[in-house]
């Protein structure tokens, strides 16, 4: 399915080859690379099943479910990257849109919900309760909320924007939690109708099916974002990120551009939330708390903000560690703790087990270390490599501010890191110096 999407992706770029920044799309090797990647990813779960089953009966399913949630986080990170990475609007409440997507899907397809009953009984509106239609509606609803919650913040910059989005990010889950009669309160919605495609009935346990669906959406999103970033809109976002006033002076409509960034960014979370809710068969307000927002933000920062592939890498690294590596490691620690033999002694004829401090500490560490590991990753990343693992070349220049009197130091040496950058084509060192070498530049958040 995915290569059907990818092929036009590459070809659609061809007629516009006269624009220099789309030149990459003409590259035949790149098309082949895409095709190979798509095919490999598509057949991977089916091909690797026997391999995983060597290790145990549940290893395969736990791996695929970890991969599925990784894909959902990739979607979320891609969406947040639009808002924070490209448009430079720091959003600390992104999980709110994830929740809105999940709950839109829930309302439309959960058998208990009133909306579902209302729509399902009428033959005209029954189609709305179909998963695929509901997926599009969740996308639209999240985009709508992105615009609605983005609109009041248009005049705000930097920290203030972060605070307001944080406020919204707290208000939305609490509201969902409190509107018990509509959303089911903290037990949430359950019994979502799951799709059925060409006779294949999806369920919470059909992991490969969800893998394919999510992968399809991820490919579609990557295609869409690549096209967007290299378009007029994408360049408007980046101009706005660098300097709002200069961008407005260049004729960019800031209101429209910002709202578009908020809406599009939120819509990816809508996709992700809808698939998340439906693949689990339920939605619950505790899944959309502040730590989810922070996790997604950490992903794009770890990977390299503003760089598509960096963001995807960050999402894969953090999500896989969250779902797979950290649980695995902590389980090993717990096993080790369990294996410590407690010394027993006979006191007054009764057997007394002597407490073991090491065992207690290890059990504790093995049980509650998730936050610590994330915290350490965030702090160390910021101290050691604030531009992320795979930085956007422009951002790297900003963060590794070289002395202003040495413009040569600002020129990135590795041309490969500039693949996404329109500026890398006709690029002028003095121009760059003006942008980032100026010590008196405004201190606003630059994404």
């Amino acid at each position: 399915m995915a290569q059907v999407k990818i092929n036009p992706a590459a070809q659609a770029g061809a007629p516009k080859g006269s624009r220099p920044f789309n030149r990459a799309n003409l590259d035949r090797n790149k098309i082949i690379l895409w095709l190979v990647l798509a095919i490999v990813l598509l057949i991977l779960p089916f091909a690797s099943k026997p391999f995983f089953e060597l290790f145990g009966p549940t290893v395969f399913s736990s791996t695929v479910s970890a991969v599925n949630s990784t894909l959902l986080f990739v979607l979320l990170a891609l969406g947040l990257n639009i808002v924070v990475g490209y448009a430079g609007l720091l959003d600390l409440g992104y999980a709110a849109f994830f929740a809105i997507g999940a709950y839109t899907m829930g309302f439309l397809t959960a058998r208990g919900s009133k909306l579902f009953d209302l729509l399902h009984t009428n033959p005209l509106t029954e189609v709305l309760t179909n998963f695929w239609v509901a997926l599009i509606l969740s996308f639209l609803m999240a985009a709508l909320f992105g615009v609605l919650l983005g609109a009041p913040t248009l005049g705000l910059r930097g920290d203030y924007l972060a605070i307001v989005t944080l406020g919204f990010g707290e208000i939305v889950p609490i509201t969902i939690n409190n509107l018990t009669q509509v959303t089911g309160g903290d037990t949430g919605l359950s019994g979502l109708t799951q799709p059925d495609l060409f006779g294949y009935q999806f369920s919470a346990s059909s992991l490969e099916g969800w893998y394919l669906v999510t992968l399809l959406v991820v490919f579609f999103s990557i295609f869409m974002i690549r096209r967007l970033v290299n378009s007029r809109i994408g360049r408007a976002w980046m101009a706005m990120r660098e300097d709002e006033i200069a961008a407005a002076a260049m004729g960019i409509n800031l209101v429209k551009t910002k709202l578009l960034a908020f809406g599009l960014g939120a819509s990816f979370a809508g996709f992700s939330g809808a698939i998340f809710a439906n693949s689990l068969g339920s939605a619950n307000p505790s899944q959309f708390k502040f730590d989810v927002s922070v996790l997604i933000l950490s992903m794009i920062i770890l990977g390299g903000m503003g760089n598509l592939w960096g963001v995807i890498a960050g999402a894969v690294v953090l999500s896989m560690s969250d779902r797979y590596i950290i649980p695995f490691l902590t389980e090993q620690v717990r096993h080790f703790a369990d294996s410590i033999q407690l010394q027993t002694s006979i006191v007054n004829g009764t057997r007394v087990t002597e407490p073991s401090a090491i065992k207690d500490i290890l059990t504790n560490v093995g049980t509650n270390s998730r936050l610590l590991i994330f915290g350490v990753i965030l702090v160390v990343m910021m101290l050691v490599r604030p531009e992320g693992l795979f930085p956007n070349s422009r951002r790297k220049m900003e963060l590794r501010a070289a002395p202003a009197d040495d413009p040569q130091a600002l020129i990135p040496t590795d041309p490969m890191t500039q693949a996404d950058e329109f500026r890398s084509i006709n690029y002028n060192p003095s121009d760059v110096t003006d942008q980032s070498g100026n010590p008196d530049g405004d201190k606003d958040i630059k994404a």
Binding site: A162, G167, L371, K446
Partner: protein, 482 residues
């Protein structure tokens, strides 16, 4: 104790101090030193004591028949509840810069006019908050207990008490933001660590366990000693912790874009939460019940017990006195530190203009570290006072998250970077939270149960303030640099 002379003396003292404070305010505006600030602060404290002791007995006994009595009491209540906080706020609101240039007198007059309008605004907001409640309590003949006048007062007093704790935490946010423009997300968790340290110290001192009353026969002296020791140890610990956080996680990022230290702060917050989780696991723990009537469960009121007046609905746990005394001492100390000492002067200078301060020979890094230490110490003290005040199931590893956000909202509401604003904002947030948590309007149907909407009310205030007045109530308008 509930005799007429005591009441009269207290009333006269309060009126005298209040009148003196108002007079000073109207006459001189801002030439107020810490002694006079003390006077302003004492007035409302005395007022609250007066209120507790007075108890408004005749009103409750004859509700709703005694209309004149009701009106008089409500008027008294309005005066007490509006004038007292207004005076309290005024004490912190008044700029206390001593060395103002004489030629800047016109500027001073402008500042004075602005300040007066702010006081009026605050009074109006208080009135707006109070009036519907009072009107409701008047017109409902069969007043349910939560609509009774003294119940309203009780809720407001408790709101102000917890608000003053928010203020202590908010000060840490605002001190740091004022100097390095960093939202220190880890600050709420420093507060949590403070609460935890105090918990440990008190348990060791008194040999108690989580949430249990202290052993019978423990002398009161010992309990107070334990609390004071816990306060001191917690303040030192949290000051040092905050210093370390600054040293390790923020110092190297001084010249990085704003986002980098912000993310680093979130990381530190996660680390501290996890340390808390290691230390006390995920089950909530509680400070030992140290005073016989301090538990909230029975909704008892130690003052009512003393006065043998069980009809009153004013419930203030005896630990509220600790809050008043502790917070007053800390705030006065901070006020002295910032306004009178050389270090405080350096802090103000660095906040105003870092480069110029550095040129004047002020060590920027030392000043920043000092701000972190002060903020941490205040958060540590707040942690202990919070634990002693709230008692039941309060020490949790994620205690700092919501309280930190509320305190941050308070700092933003008052005008982030503004020390007086943080105190004002803290009191406001405490009031808003407390009022929205109680069910005054009888809206306790499951759909509109107000208590579950209290966080939404606070965050709603945060969003509204940010959208309509991002500089907060007391914040100055900052010119946008291009």
């Amino acid at each position: 104790m509930n005799s007429l002379p005591v009441q009269l003396v207290l009333l006269i003292v309060w009126l005298g101090l209040g009148a003196y404070g108002t007079f000073m305010l109207l006459q001189k505006g801002y030439r107020v030193n810490s002694l006079k600030s003390l006077a302003y602060y004492v007035a409302p404290v005395v007022a609250i004591l007066y209120l507790i002791i007075n108890q408004i007995q005749p009103l409750n006994a004859s509700w709703p028949g005694n209309l004149p009595g009701v009106v008089i009491n409500i008027a008294l209540g309005i005066i007490l509840l509006i004038v007292s906080p207004a005076l309290l706020i005024a004490a912190f609101l008044v700029p206390t810069q001593k060395n103002l240039d004489v030629s800047a007198r016109a500027l001073q007059r402008d500042a004075f006019v602005r300040m007066r309008s702010r006081i009026l605004l605050i009074g109006a907001i208080f009135l707006a908050l109070m009036m519907p409640l009072l009107a409701l309590s008047l017109f409902r003949t069969a007043a349910p207990s939560e609509l009774r006048y003294d119940s309203v007062i009780s809720v407001m007093i408790n709101g102000l008490l917890s608000g003053s704790l928010f203020a202590l935490i908010a000060l840490g946010y605002t001190l740091v933001y004022g100097i390095i423009e960093l939202i220190n997300f880890a600050h709420g968790d420093v507060f949590m660590m403070g609460s935890l340290v105090g918990f440990t110290v008190i348990n060791i001192m008194l040999g108690t366990q989580s949430g249990r009353p202290v052993k019978a026969g423990t002398p009161l002296f010992m309990v107070i000693l334990a609390i004071v020791l816990a306060l001191i140890i917690s303040m030192v610990f949290c000051g040092f912790l905050n210093y370390l956080i600054n040293r390790i996680a923020y110092k190297r990022l001084r010249n990085a874009p704003r986002l980098a230290p912000l993310i680093s702060a979130i990381g530190v917050s996660f680390i501290l939460q996890n340390i808390g989780l290691y230390l006390i696991s995920s089950a909530p723990q509680g400070y030992p019940v140290m005073f016989p009537n301090a538990t909230r469960v029975a909704n008892t009121d130690v003052v009512s017990d003393i006065l043998d007046n069980h009809d009153s609905l004013i419930t203030i746990p005896v630990t509220g006195i600790l809050v008043i005394v502790g917070v007053s001492i800390l705030l006065l100390g901070l006020s002295y530190l910032i306004n009178q000492t050389k270090t405080g002067k350096a802090m103000r200078a660095v906040a105003q203009n870092r480069e110029a301060a550095a040129l004047m020979g002020i060590s920027i890094e030392r000043t920043i570290s000092f701000a972190f230490i002060i903020g941490g110490a205040l958060a540590g003290a707040a942690g202990v006072i919070y634990g002693v005040y709230q008692v039941q199931g309060t020490v949790r590893y994620d205690l700092g998250f919501q309280n930190g956000l509320f305190a941050f909202t308070a700092a933003v509401l008052g005008g982030i970077g503004n020390v007086n604003g943080a105190v004002l904002g803290g009191l406001f947030i405490g009031l808003i939270y407390s009022l929205s948590q109680s069910s005054f309007f009888g809206l306790s149907a499951s759909f509109l149960d107000l208590s579950i909407w209290a966080p939404v009310a606070v965050f709603g205030v945060l969003v509204l303030v940010m959208i309509f007045r991002p500089t907060g109530i007391l914040g100055e308008n900052v010119q946008e640099k291009v």
